[in-house]
């Protein structure tokens, strides 16, 4: 496997009427080609903002931290994403090397233009295809994602498709440019389990077929267990745990990850009580000092947790957590 992307110290703040809020705080991770990384965390933890940052797709009120470094490794050499200035320079990244499947599929298709026209338009911006070639590739992609009668679907509008079909059409469009990295933001959340299983299978096939990397954003740990090679867990803009899917799900090291897993209703024991994480997620305007999780943590170690931000410590090969439990001596952060 070869390195696909390195994200180092990604920090992103928003200027709002109520003040400057930190949506992503010093997040670092990397991904190999052919690897699927699950990104999990509660609503508002910064998953979508992180995803959009990789393509610099954030709105005008977004301010990147000065140490933010995003390196995309393409065949022609590394690209420093933060140094790309305008839309022309970003072209190689947006819709070319990286494709994003948005959280809301309806929002991603213009209502008055057919699915096919949108696919062709997108392909012609990012490739040198003629219109006829672009159409051929688009129909082929619709077929690849399991849409029956793709040439008819090509001429239809988003509202004419069912939820599952629309989601697959989204994936087809995102894949038609043969991206190196696919970012799928909650691609199955609105789907029924049966259709979800189909979409998951499809994405797995595509990884092995095209060798691309996938960042799979979801709050469903079952979906992560079935699709991802590794997992990153976010809370209030912070990455709190990272590791292989087996390690994180079987031996969660961060109290927040443990809380998420304990809250899940599972079919193994339907009489087991459901255990919520106590308390509410703090507002991003009132981020707790020290460890951001200290207001809800069941394992707080005392004043250190509210005074000192925990560093990432290795709990195993390829498994790390940012919690003082795993860094007893401390050493400041």
């Amino acid at each position: 496997m070869s390195r696909l992307i390195d994200v180092e110290n990604l920090t992103l703040q928003f200027d709002t009427d109520e003040g400057r809020i930190t949506a992503v705080d010093n997040v670092s991770f990397s991904l190999e080609a052919g690897e699927v990384m699950g990104l999990v965390g509660e609503s508002g933890s910064g998953k979508s903002v992180t995803a959009k940052s990789l393509m610099k797709l954030n709105p005008r009120n977004a301010v990147y931290g000065p140490d933010t470094k995003i390196t995309l490794h393409l065949d022609d050499g590394p690209i420093d994403v933060m140094s790309l200035q305008n839309d022309t320079e970003m072209k190689i990244v947006r819709g070319g090397a990286i494709s994003l499947i948005f959280q809301e599929p309806m929002a991603s298709f213009a209502p008055a233009i057919s699915i096919g026209e949108q696919m062709v338009e997108q392909l012609m911006i990012h490739t040198n295809f003629s219109k006829a070639q672009a159409k051929e590739v688009s129909v082929e992609m619709l077929d690849r994602v399991g849409i029956s009668d793709p040439s008819t679907r090509f001429g239809q509008y988003a509202f004419e498709l069912s939820g599952g079909m629309r989601q697959r059409a989204m994936i087809a469009m995102a894949l038609s440019t043969k991206p190196r990295l696919l970012i799928a933001d909650e691609p199955t959340t609105a789907l029924d389990v049966t259709i979800q299983a189909q979409v998951i299978d499809l994405m797995k096939d595509l990884v092995s077929e095209f060798g691309m990397g996938i960042i799979f954003i979801t709050h469903d740990l079952g979906v992560i267990a079935q699709t991802a090679d590794k997992v990153a867990v976010m809370y209030l803009g912070k990455l709190v745990e990272q590791g292989t899917v087996r390690d994180v799900i079987r031996r969660p090291a961060h109290p927040y990850t443990r809380g998420l897993l304990a809250a899940l209703p599972t079919l193994d024991d339907i009489d087991a009580p459901l255990t919520p994480i106590p308390g509410d997620i703090p507002s991003p305007l009132e981020r707790p000092s020290g460890c951001v999780y200290n207001t809800r943590c069941q394992e707080v170690l005392g004043p250190r947790c509210s005074a000192e931000a925990p560093r990432f410590s290795q709990v195993d090969t390829d498994h790390a957590a940012a919690c003082h439990l795993h860094d007893p001596q401390g050493g400041g952060a």
């Binding site: 709050h219 079935q226 899940l264 079919l267 255990t275 994480i277």
Partner: protein, 331 residues
């Protein structure tokens, strides 16, 4: 559960007319077709099925908020007995205080310009259930406390609350008229798992405390397994299986129920690829297939399935299934 059911659907059909069709029979969407269920008092009754299977429509018909085209819904709480098809204006008003809906989306459902106190109090005022403001306030405070909202919360506006807190506000609003029957339609679907667990525990606690009966609509089978005592599975407007929760999850008899259960993503990364996959999608209810409605996707379908619609048969204690081949599946 030998008590009289609190609410009964009797061969209930809900048809929505479609435009067009000047000649011949009027085209319609059969959102609910010939459904019979009995919900015992104090039950937490789960309703599952894919999108478009008719869950919301059935729930709404039981609240007299969807048209009853055929059959009837009977309500009997020991104080009053109603046939929902034939409700007079006064009876309907009374029924509205006895049967309530908790909405799916905690963000859309609450008016941003009203304080939490006013949101919760509104049903009391609309139905004229309290006589003085002091009485209203007391009822609101009492129900808010049950939903873990304090006096300080009551003064604020809903935008200042998190998703879980908003859902608690919706619940308080639904409960303030002291209803007997609650339809909770995807009430936790929009919530994060940790908040979801909290809201589910709250619903269960309140149900026991106030002796409520719930129709709990959800597409999340793991959630249903944990909170419901009885489950009904719908497909294309029909009831395909209904059983006590334990029986449904340990011995599902209908191929569709089996496929649904098998599609739930396992938390074990080593279970990959083990799921039994269901191909295709739910057909359009305007043009349902002949025979068994599941035959276009059923791995067990035989010729008989394509011509003859299966009826519900008894497969165990309170366990009913509509499939020609359920006995083979039970082996």
């Amino acid at each position: 559960m030998s008590d009289n059911p609190l609410i009964t659907a009797q061969n209930l059909s809900v048809h929505y007319p479609l435009r067009g069709g000047l000649i011949g029979p009027k085209p319609y969407v059969g959102a609910v077709e010939n459904v019979s269920i009995e919900v015992a008092p104090g039950s937490f009754f789960g309703l599952v099925g894919e999108s478009g299977s008719g869950k919301t429509t059935l729930g709404r018909a039981m609240l007299r908020a969807a048209p009853i085209s055929k059959g009837d819904v009977l309500f009997d709480d020991g104080e009053v007995a109603y046939s929902l098809k034939n409700l007079g204006k006064k009876e309907l008003k009374d029924y509205r205080s006895r049967a309530q809906l908790i909405f799916q989306d905690p963000y859309a459902a609450l008016s941003p310009r009203m304080t939490v106190r006013d949101i919760i109090a509104e049903p009391l005022e609309v139905m004229g259930l309290t006589k003085t403001r002091a009485e209203t306030d007391e009822r609101v405070r009492e129900i808010a406390a049950k939903c873990r909202l304090n006096v300080e919360h009551l003064r604020r506006f809903p935008h200042a609350f998190s998703g879980g807190q908003r859902q608690r506000i919706s619940i308080a609003r639904a409960l303030v008229s002291a209803p007997k029957f609650i339809v909770a339609d995807e009430s936790v679907a929009a919530l994060d798992v940790s908040i979801q667990a909290d809201v589910l525990n709250l619903l269960k606690a309140i149900q026991q405390d106030m002796g409520l009966t719930f129709l709990f609509i959800s597409h999340d089978l793991s959630v249903v397994a944990h909170v419901c005592d009885h489950v009904a599975v719908m497909y294309l407007g029909r009831l395909v299986e209904t059983a006590p929760t334990r029986a449904l999850f340990s011995a599902p008899r209908h191929p569709y129920t089996q496929a649904l259960l098998s599609a739930i993503p396992s938390l074990d990364p080593d279970d990959r690829g083990k799921a039994q996959k269901l191909e295709g999608e739910i057909p359009s209810p305007t043009n349902p297939p002949p025979g068994c409605k599941f035959q276009t996707r059923c791995p067990m379908a035989i010729d008989r399935c394509r011509v003859e619609e299966p009826l519900l048969e008894t497969a165990g204690p309170e366990h009913n299934v509509a499939c020609h081949r359920w006995k083979e599946l039970a082996m």
